[in-house]
Symmetry: C2
Subunit: 248 residues, 2 copies
Amino acid sequence: MASTASPSREELHIPTALDNQPLFRGMKAEFRDTFAQSSQIQILSKGTILFLQDDPAEWFYLILSGWVKLFTETMDGDEAVIDMVSNGHMIGDSAILEDGVHSFGAAAVEPVTVIRLPSNLLKQAISEDHQTALAMLGSLSRHRKRQSREIESLTLQNASQRIGCFLLRLCHPEQSMPIELTLPYDKSLIAARLGMKSETFSRALNKLRKETSLAIKGSMVTVSDLEELSGYVCSACSNEFPCKDLHG
Amino acid sequence: MASTASPSREELHIPTALDNQPLFRGMKAEFRDTFAQSSQIQILSKGTILFLQDDPAEWFYLILSGWVKLFTETMDGDEAVIDMVSNGHMIGDSAILEDGVHSFGAAAVEPVTVIRLPSNLLKQAISEDHQTALAMLGSLSRHRKRQSREIESLTLQNASQRIGCFLLRLCHPEQSMPIELTLPYDKSLIAARLGMKSETFSRALNKLRKETSLAIKGSMVTVSDLEELSGYVCSACSNEFPCKDLHG
């Protein structure tokens, strides 16, 4: 599986990594400095739980590399994968707006590097620094849009179209054909991320292969006709390829 | 069908209606006064489009009574009902954070009374008034939590459990048995809101009746064993009845 690139030396410098984030960029220097001093780089092994649903929000995290699964768990022990996020994403930051507890859990699905930051400082920065509140608004708003698309997709796209949409989001329209892709993480995780059981995923993937000129071998995917794939996928969506929220 | 109660005389007084909303309550008086002066009460007939997806965000709305459908539409002409909202809800407010265009459409599904408010004034209030930005953050955060639950439900609950969950949210735990409910809007809209085709909805409703002591006649629902219903529904959810986000 293709892992996200390991963080460069520069990215492991906390102040530099924070400066790359809209949340910290416009923040008052006093808060940004305190964040840099009270933060810590952590290298987490596969399977590490960052926090669980209903845990009090003590820390939030900026991912520098690796994939993190956001999930909830039912009484019956089933797991819903709410999202999969990677470098540049922050997780657990909005818990301070939700009674101070995490509304989902987060776990590393491969070796992951994060910066761990204190939640109470974020709460203080938002309440005292207008620019931080505005940056947080922008972040929540992008997230809201991403979730609305997800609800639309779960409602209207069939399983094959959902897999096609997932692959399409890995393609860039200006790439020359054929496009060679590597799946970002394990197929069983892709199935879970798309809300499908493994059997449904396999059947739907076979159907997608038949309907479009798509080849998959292990974790390698070859898209030889992008227009055909986007035609098949986007007919059941209110967006056209390339999505406006492609990398949102 | 049970319509939401018509607005009282007091609610039709714009400043009073605005004061009932967290967004306006802590707002600087100069902004709140300008809002009250530049707002307008509108009585919309069934089917009225408030705005369409990709429309520039000129206005946002506070619903005083009646149900409004939030939706997107695919290239194929299929419609996804993203949400159904009613009195006390604001719609279209977050578009100012999303490139100034609406990311979904909104339509009255019955006679609806709204207050129409100017989007550019909200943009200005958020950028200049810290309390308004914080109130908006609270609102987006509640919305995010609501959407996360929706994604979890679409992923883990079967169709019967989704219908049961919808009904459960109309029940209060302290009500005495049997609980008599009136469906808030048309069954076909409930099906669309839950992301189901009509046939799936009918089959799933029949299954729900068999699995729990539930009776439905027209738009009247009788729940004679709340524990049985919540047991059936909430086993496939990470929340227990009564939901923490019950009226979120």
